[in-house]
Symmetry: C2
């Protein structure tokens, strides 16, 4: 069963699971083995009732009076998020931002590996060497199928983004992280998350006006 058929779990709950996972990782580093819901909620910056409600979507956790086992809760959340194994991700659009993301070494400890990059001009000279191979767009469908890739990052200019999204969806990609300012149209069973730096700046700008 696809989890997208469970719309009753709010997207915000899933974002908070990511926060809980990172808080639990810090507790593990400090050799802390159990944590109360109050203490975990506090480091995560939420109310204890919110934490308990979020976790209740996924079954029963913790022991009354003892709190949560840090390692166990951490594994359960990673299982729910699908990050307990390393997931392959591809990136399309090897410009400045694409190169920066391809060089970032921090994704693997979070459960993701950018395994390959694609670009309309794979052989164009670039400012930086990266360890991943840069393929032409014609190689996309075969690569996605062969490696069972389900997620992709789009870092192409706005005017190319919809065409790239169409190619990704045709190839079998079902999750897209879109860094272009374009609003993408995709079939209902494909998820798109958008990262738009200008909109984040604009939002800050509103709240800091004198």
């Amino acid at each position: 069963m696809k989890k997208s058929s469970r719309p009753e779990i709010p997207r915000k709950t899933i974002y908070r699971l990511s926060t809980y996972l990172r808080c639990l990782a810090r507790l593990k580093e400090k050799q802390i083995q159990t944590v109360s819901s109050e203490a975990l909620a506090k480091v995560a910056g939420v109310k204890p009732t919110q934490l308990r409600k979020d976790l209740a979507y996924f079954g029963t956790f913790g022991t009354r009076g003892l709190g949560y086992d840090v390692a166990e809760l951490s594994n359960r959340i990673a299982d729910e998020l699908g990050t307990s194994r390393l997931q392959p991700v591809i990136l399309v659009g090897v410009g400045n931002l694409g190169l920066a993301l391809l060089s970032y070494r921090g994704f693997e400890k979070e459960g993701f590996e950018i395994v390959a990059a694609f670009d309309a001009e794979p052989d164009r000279p670039r400012d930086k060497k990266v360890s991943q191979t840069i393929f032409g767009m014609e190689d996309l469908p075969a690569f996605v199928q062969k490696h069972g890739v389900r997620m992709a990052i789009i870092t192409v200019p706005a005017e190319a983004a919809q065409e790239v999204a169409n190619a990704l969806v045709s190839a079998g990609i079902v999750g897209i992280l879109n860094f272009s300012p374009a609003v993408l149209s995709v079939p209902e069973d494909v998820m798109v998350n958008n990262v738009n730096v200008a909109i984040e700046l604009e939002n800050l700008s509103y709240f800091i006006q004198e």
Copy 2:
């Protein structure tokens, strides 16, 4: 009066204003002068009631039966967001991601200009030349004061992020866009927006599980 003292306007409304502004810009490009709330809501992907509710926070817009004047509504929203004039932004942390953002030429048409960069090692060799000057951290307070800068982008590693945030706040920065995975502690009157690529991937990962 600081707008942060108007907590009754939801952050999501402000994000939607950014969407409306972009939809209006596309209508302007197509020489369209007026638009009904139904038509604008449709291109923005919201319900007409939502659009009208969002705009109602900021006064009266549009004429019954005629709809909104595209240029007028666009100017009003840009005024509200504080992007009708170009705003100076600084960036701290000139690694791969910092260089990519410094080279991006798309911010100016959105109302923002990255006017300078700061780094603990300003003179370290880098893969790319950028047009902005890269200063040492000791130059931050004087620069911020001299140029009246209020917003900053943090692109340093997690372990350096809190110290950088403290320096920014001391210098007078009140809006921070944080690309590091660190959760920042700042005074109440400082706004932080976070962009965390790993968390966006994790969120996608949950929803696309088989």
